[in-house]
Structures are given as structure tokens and as C-alpha cells.
């Protein structure tokens, strides 16, 4: 039985090698589209903002759960918070001076 399974795996390896070639073509097309449209995320999970654009998801706004929590949207359980979340330990923006009045437009 193990022999048969190993043969099966050999067939898999061959399939994977062949499929990679086909995949290359599809990926090139997608990459061209992404570049042309300046896209930032895959369109896998269209349930909510932070699952559709996990790379650009909001910080902890009210009534919005962080990605990575298994809650309202099942696909939220698949996606980890982006590394650039302050919660992940990385500084996002340079620290703001406290008493300086805002001069942004």
C-alpha cells in the first residue's frame, strides 16, 4: 500500500511541476492587472472592509473588530493583523508632539 501511495506522490509531484507552469501565466496576468489598477489586496474575502483590504484595514475604530478575531465574519479568523499594526509592536507614525496646534489642511 505504501508503494502505491509513493507512486501517487510521484504523480503529484509531476502534476505540481506542470501546474506551476500554467500558474505562472495566470499570475503574470494578475500582476499586470494589479500594477495597472494600483491594487493593494487580493479579493478573496469580500465580507467586510478589513477582510477585503486586510493590508489597509482601519486601526481600532469603534464597532470594528480586529482581524484575527474569530467573530462576526468567519474569514476574519483566517487573516492575522497586519504587521504594521501598533499592537504588533511596530511604530506606525512618528510620535506627535502633544501641545502643537494642528496646521494640516
Amino acid at each position: 500500500m505504501i508503494g502505491a501511495l509513493l507512486l501517487g506522490w510521484l504523480a503529484l509531484a509531476l502534476h505540481a511541476a506542470w501546474a506551476q507552469g500554467a500558474a505562472h501565466e495566470a499570475r503574470a496576468q494578475s500582476r499586470a492587472l494589479v500594477q495597472a489598477l494600483a491594487l493593494t489586496d487580493a479579493a478573496w474575502f469580500t465580507e467586510a472592509r478589513y477582510t477585503r483590504h486586510p493590508g489597509l484595514a482601519d486601526l481600532h475604530s469603534a464597532f470594528q473588530d480586529a482581524p484575527g478575531g474569530a467573530e462576526h465574519f468567519p474569514s476574519g479568523a483566517w487573516v492575522a493583523p497586519p504587521r504594521h499594526f501598533p499592537a504588533a509592536g511596530l511604530q506606525l507614525m512618528p510620535p506627535e508632539p502633544v501641545a502643537t496646534p494642528r496646521t494640516d489642511e
Binding site: 501511495l5 501517487g8 489597509l56 484575527g68
Partner: protein
């Protein structure tokens, strides 16, 4: 060397004969084991495929994305912000991006409406006013083809009646399935955006090595904005289906527990008959090593067969059949889900981890209880 090989061969022969005596039980064990491997491997392969897709395709994303913030929520950017960044050294090109979400009440689907940039590369994707290009998911959901009309209603009551110029290629479904590409005038009217408002800004840097520096300068220039580099985007997707998070962790924990339970149940209940048999084998000349090797072979054969079978089925499940069993979980509550082929990609490290998980607890749990029996005087074991 030959001696050792022959010895192992005989041990395997004996092990197989011994296992055949309890065919149903061992087959059941094998099936459960294989099922666990199948579940874990399916998730791992799926994750691996999607991760690789993202890593390769999102290389085309903008170098830096600048997002406005107000009170912690995303806020629109202005032309003035764009001008501020124009002067930064190292910046090759800046674009104001126009994109937004629309919840379609008629189908309960979420679309991403977008205006293609004004670059030459996007020329073929820019519709005329009154026209639209849609992703294959939108076409499927609304049952539309090129030439037909798409009706969209905004929450404000704004209404769009657009002709579908084309459906975006199937091969790009993973990244374009919910896209609705409009002309800028249509977009601004629909979302009631002022002419100087943008969703966010895309920044392109001349020298790839300077992206981090330019990002830092942009952050200083626009204090109320958030800076996301392409590296940040890619890192998000690297963590997709990460071991540490949510579903996969739960699955992994359950699987390890199940493996452990299986193994202990198998090993700790050494029946009187098994003990007697070990005693007989020792009395006729087998030593402790032989007994333990035999048990290791037994565990190894079951675990390896389960691993190979489960892994094979997982590969077929994910890459030949598109992971139908995982689809409900992946799709979640999305009404719009890309119809895309998954590209085989095998993460060697993850598979090695899976192999270790499938084999090690089983082997350990088999050998430890047997040690005492195997090492005892045969007389003591046979009584």
C-alpha cells in the same frame, strides 16, 4: 549491514502479520489518522497556495500607499496632500486613488468600485462615462455579460445605469472578482465626492532601495496620514493562515490532541495476549531492542501510511477539486467569492511540520508504555 537490513525486514514481516490479526481495529486507526492528516494538510496546502499567489501578484502593488486618518478612522485625502508629497525627493509619481465599497442590497454582495489610474498601462481598463468593466464575481452574481446593463444604487439615492463594456479575465479572479471599474465622473457623482477628494494616495519611488526613506519622509510631511509600504502589504499576506492565529491554531490543537489520544489508547492498553506474546518472543530469543523496533515499525507504518494517504487526498482535494470542503469556511458570509483555480505550491517547512506532528506523538506514545514490558524478564511477562 546486511544482517541489520534482514533483521528489520523480518521485524516488518512480523509486524504486518501481527497487525493483520486485528485488521478492523488497525484499519480504523489508520482511517482516523489519515483523516486528521487530510484536514490539516488541506488547510496548509490552501494557505500555502494563497500565500504564494499573494506574494507574487502583489509585487505589482504601489510602493507606498498614504491613507488619511481622522479620529482613528479612515478619512479622505485632498489634492493639497498630493501636492505636499509631490515635492519629496525620490518620488517618481503620485496618484490619487479613487475606490470605495458598495453594498448591493439586491444581492447582499459587497462590491469594490474603482476608477482606473490615468496611466498608459491602465488605458485598456478605463471605461468611458456610462460604461463599466466588472469582475467575474460581479458578472456571476448579477448574471451579466458584456453589452448588458448594470444598475447600481448608492445609499444617498444616487443611481447609476451603466453598460458593461467587458468582464475582467477569469485568470485574474483572485484579485478582481468584486471590482466595478468606472469613469471618474461617474464615480464622483455616485459617491458625491468633491473634485479634490481622493480615497487615498499611491506613491511610486524611483529607487526601490529608498522606499523606506521616502515612506518616512511622507509620514513627516503628512502628519495625519498613515503610511503603508508594499513590504507591509506583503507581510500581511505572509501571515495568512498563520499557525498562531484563529482557525488553524484551533485545528492544530485539536489534531495534536487527537493524535495523542489515539496513540495512548493504542499503546497503554497492552492486552494480556500481547504481553504473553512478547514474553514468548523474548523467551525464544528476541531481546528488548527487537521488541521495541517491532513496535516502532508498527507505529511507523500506520503513521506513515496515514501521512501519505492523507496528504495525497489533501492535495487532490485542494488543487484538483478546488477545496470544496473548505469553501464554506473560506467564503464565510461573503456572497461574492472568486471562482479561481488554486495554484499548487508546497511549503516544505509546513509539510515537514505536519509529518513530524503525525509521526512523533504516535511513536513516542507507543514506545514509552512498551518499554517496561519489553525490558522485563520474559518469565515475568508471561505470567
Amino acid at each position: 549491514m546486511h544482517t541489520w537490513l534482514n533483521r528489520q525486514r523480518y521485524l516488518i514481516d512480523y509486524t504486518l502479520a501481527a497487525m493483520a490479526r486485528q485488521r478492523a481495529k488497525n484499519l480504523g486507526l489508520l482511517l482516523v489518522h489519515a483523516l486528521l492528516v487530510f484536514a490539516l494538510a488541506s488547510v496548509m496546502l490552501l494557505g500555502s497556495a494563497l500565500r504564494q499567489d499573494a506574494a507574487q501578484v502583489l509585487e505589482g502593488a504601489p510602493d507606498v500607499v498614504v491613507q488619511g486618518l481622522q479620529m482613528g478612522r479612515h478619512a479622505l485625502s485632498r489634492s493639497a496632500d498630493l501636492e505636499r508629497l509631490q515635492g519629496l525627493r525620490g518620488v517618481q509619481r503620485i496618484e490619487g486613488r479613487l475606490w470605495g465599497y458598495l453594498y448591493d442590497t439586491s444581492t447582499a454582495g459587497n462590491y469594490t468600485l474603482q476608477v482606473p489610474p490615468g496611466t498608459a498601462q491602465a488605458a485598456g481598463l478605463r471605461p468611458e462615462p456610462g460604461q463599466v468593466l466588472i469582475g467575474e464575481g460581479v458578472a456571476r452574481l448579477r448574471k451579466l455579460q458584456a453589452g448588458q446593463r448594470l444598475f447600481l444604487v448608492a445609499p444617498s439615492g444616487e443611481f447609476l445605469n451603466l453598460q458593461v463594456r467587458a468582464v475582467l479575465p477569469q485568470a485574474t479572479a483572485g484579485f478582481s472578482t468584486d471590482l466595478v471599474l468606472l469613469a471618474e465622473a461617474d464615480f464622483r457623482r455616485f459617491f458625491q465626492l468633491a473634485p479634490d477628494e481622493f480615497t487615498d494616495l499611491a506613491l511610486y519611488v524611483r529607487n526601490p532601495k529608498e522606499v523606506a526613506k521616502v515612506a518616512e519622509k511622507a509620514g513627516l510631511a503628512l502628519r495625519r496620514h498613515r503610511i503603508v509600504t508594499r513590504a507591509d502589504l506583503l507581510r500581511t499576506y505572509e501571515n495568512l493562515f498563520s499557525w498562531r492565529e484563529g482557525l488553524l491554531l484551533a485545528l492544530l490543537g485539536a489534531a495534536v490532541l487527537a493524535f495523542g489520544i489515539l496513540a495512548f489508547d493504542k499503546a497503554s492498553g497492552l492486552s494480556a495476549q500481547e504481553r504473553r506474546e512478547i514474553g514468548v518472543l523474548k523467551a525464544i530469543g528476541w531481546d528488548t531492542r527487537d521488541i521495541i523496533h517491532m513496535k516502532l515499525w508498527e507505529a511507523g507504518l500506520v503513521a506513515t501510511t496515514a501521512l501519505l494517504a492523507g496528504g495525497l487526498l489533501a492535495y487532490l482535494h485542494v488543487f484538483l477539486f478546488g477545496a470544496p470542503l473548505l469553501r464554506p469556511v473560506l467564503q464565510g458570509w461573503s456572497v461574492l467569492f472568486p471562482s479561481m483555480a488554486l495554484n499548487p505550491s508546497v511549503d516544505g517547512l509546513q509539510l515537514a511540520t505536519l509529518a513530524l506532528l503525525a509521526l512523533l506523538p504516535y511513536l513516542v506514545a507507543i514506545v514509552i508504555p512498551i518499554w517496561r514490558t519489553a525490558a522485563a524478564d520474559p518469565d515475568a511477562v508471561m505470567r
